[in-house]
């Protein structure tokens, strides 16, 4: 069979020309495309979340009882903490009044809905863009204010958030239990690796990882996830560990863009 005749060569030339033109107008084409397909993406994302929750309920029912017990004990423990913290908050308010200090503002958040994920990277598409005040570099968090990623691109109709787990995403983090700063690397497919933890510090599964302000990327003190397992066979002065985010971003139906920091 003669696969590459005159027609095929002409078609290839047109194809290459089309690609060049598309790349010249890529942001505009992507923006229009995104705006047109947004309702379909929104519906599919919502349906995907619902269906996956249904299957998780069916196939994950075995672990649900155990998880429920763990959560009950965690809630009981947290209720004690809430009581203590409420007392501290009242004391703090009184002290702020006494010293006439400005009360700390809370984050100003914009609710956004993820509508899609890039094929080969940990980048999510959001349904709000510049029209709603979203700008490149803004922080994206979950409902419980866990850091998720950064806005990398914002068009008038939508935006893209690069997740912390995206490959080669690097940020400095703090482990408040150990009182140290380390580096968190994205490994792709929602995986995170904690690196440059001094070997003399005892890293335990369950240690919480927070954002740090050393790199001036994130607002400090936002929760990212918890240490799951220490990497075996580490050598040198530092140790590594895998970190799991506390909430599953791929199944969530709402995220928040931090419009202004306190």
């Amino acid at each position: 069979m003669r696969m590459f005749g005159t027609k095929q060569i002409a078609a290839t030339a047109i194809f290459v020309l089309l690609l060049i033109l598309l790349n010249m107008a890529a942001p505009g084409v992507r923006s229009v495309f995104f705006a047109f397909t947004l309702p379909l993406q929104r519906t599919l994302w919502q349906e995907g979340s619902d269906v996956s929750r249904f299957f998780y309920g069916v196939f994950g029912s075995k672990g649900l009882v155990e998880e429920n017990e763990k959560l009950k004990s965690a809630v009981a423990s947290l209720l004690h903490d809430v009581y203590d913290l409420e007392r501290v908050r009242l004391e703090n308010t009184e002290l702020l009044k006494a010293f006439s200090l400005r009360k700390e503002q809370s984050l100003r958040l914009l609710p956004v809905m993820p509508v899609g994920k890039e094929l080969s990277r940990d980048v999510l598409f959001l349904d709000q863009g510049q029209a709603a005040g979203v700008r490149s570099g803004m922080i994206v968090v979950t409902a419980s204010q866990e850091a998720v990623g950064l806005i990398t691109e914002a068009t008038s109709h939508g935006s893209k958030v690069r997740l912390i787990s995206d490959k080669d995403f690097v940020t400095d983090v703090s482990l408040q239990d150990l009182g140290i700063t380390a580096v968190l690397r994205g490994e792709g497919n929602f995986r995170l690796l904690l690196d440059l933890v001094p070997r003399d510090k005892t890293l335990e599964p369950g240690d919480l990882v927070f954002t740090s302000n050393l790199g001036n990327v994130f607002s400090p003190g936002l929760l990212i996830g918890k240490v799951v397992t220490k990497e075996r066979g580490d050598e040198g002065s530092f140790q590594k560990a895998s970190v799991a985010p506390l909430s599953d971003v791929s199944k969530t139906s709402v995220l928040f863009v931090v419009l202004t920091l306190p």
Binding site: M3, F15, K117, E118, L119
Partner: protein, 100 residues
Amino acid sequence: MMRTFLFFLMVGSVFLQVSFFPAFAFMRSIPALLPLMVLLVVLHTNRFSTTFAAAALAGFFADAFSSHFFGFWMIIAVCIVVLGHWFLTSYGRLPIFRKA
């Protein structure tokens, strides 16, 4: 009819990959549906021009949802078609995909 069906199938697979399947991440990874669909279509039909056009269209849609340059997924999809077609015409057709 067949051509329209293929176009819808390929474009639909891109939308499913982008917006539906991320919720079904197994072992924290989502299988790439687009190359798989292109391969299945190549194995199913021997109409080179139809599969080529359907793959290029699906690649275009995938590129629209990608941070890579325009053409990244188009080239991958088209390469799968060309290589798959070449393999099947040179070395034979899999009997399980042969039409009755």
